[in-house]
Symmetry: C2
Subunit: 187 residues, 2 copies
Amino acid sequence: MKEKLKEHIENLIPLTDEEFSFILSHVSFEKYKKNDFIIQEGENVKNCYLVVNGLLKLVYDDKNGKQHIVSFAMEDWWESDFSAYFSQTKAKMSLQCIEDTIVYSLSFQNYQKLSAELPKMKQFFLEKSNSGHSASQNRILSFLTSNAKERYEQLLKQYPLLFQRVPKTLLASYLGVSRETLSRLSS
Amino acid sequence: MKEKLKEHIENLIPLTDEEFSFILSHVSFEKYKKNDFIIQEGENVKNCYLVVNGLLKLVYDDKNGKQHIVSFAMEDWWESDFSAYFSQTKAKMSLQCIEDTIVYSLSFQNYQKLSAELPKMKQFFLEKSNSGHSASQNRILSFLTSNAKERYEQLLKQYPLLFQRVPKTLLASYLGVSRETLSRLSS
DNA sequence: TTATAATTGTGATGTATGTCACACTCGATT
DNA sequence: AATCGAGTGTGACATACATCACAATTATAA
């Protein structure tokens, strides 16, 4: 499993073996079961996570008890309630397993330590953050410019795999439509 | 005007005088008039911009010729079509002045140079990117959980100044509603 | 000033989408 | 095999919002 983390980082930035073992000593390997909460709303957010295997949802529960999916996290994605992680405050959102999931966990302290002591890692985090930011902007754009059907088709195109892995109800909650409307769109 | 840039960076990270003059030698100071385009859709995006004074809109023009505002950029904000900037490709969006505007411009090359040669600046960019990412996620959340009226009230609360500075049509286009609907919400 | 364009409000109407209710399928559990 | 619950489709109806049209007001420029 170590190889997967190494590959993941080297996808952006080559590492020496020493650098990689230094990194490895700052993360921890964790396994969760389907439906487990990795982060629960209201808790302090101590870690962010790299998904090695499995599937997560980052959800916000509104005052009416309705669930909204801010993001899915699939293999090779970093996820957390980043807003709470970076400010070391309480989670506004929950991170929960849709499938059995294996992750690398990185504490905020170790994130800072890696950033400070390994310039390559600061670079890595910077590039990850930049692309995360771009992805979010694209999602905003999709809300601004597209109706439910178009958003559905964009999602279908971008992540065809998702459709076999998650119930339609969750897709609806990601797209911002009711499950009934989504059902009518598919036909 | 130099002071404003220094203040802006030192808001996050203290700098020596040498460090600051090094930074200063890598940015350029530019003035634009109301309605000028700083970035035009289809162009290569060479720079990102720090707004010293004035107000910008980052807009996407859809296939039907309708304008969608992805972001306003006010004093003290960095803005660009970041997706195109970081990948050094053509702009999908335009950056245009709502008011006469003064900016610092930073080329991608100098961005890389500053990041590489000044660890403090890499840290600065990382923190900026992280907070930009969080802000975008909040905007997504607002689309998922709130109707037009609620989004309007959130915007009003977050940026009360904006309402005196920009026509309602633009606010509508930021909120993702028609100007008529926005007009009815205000009453 | 006068003319012209930009901005805003508001009615009438159409449409997309939400909500509620119910039925059906399918896999998991006992 | 029988039971249960999660996931899904679909009809009937309610509602939020878009669109089109027009008038009124306010800025801008000639």
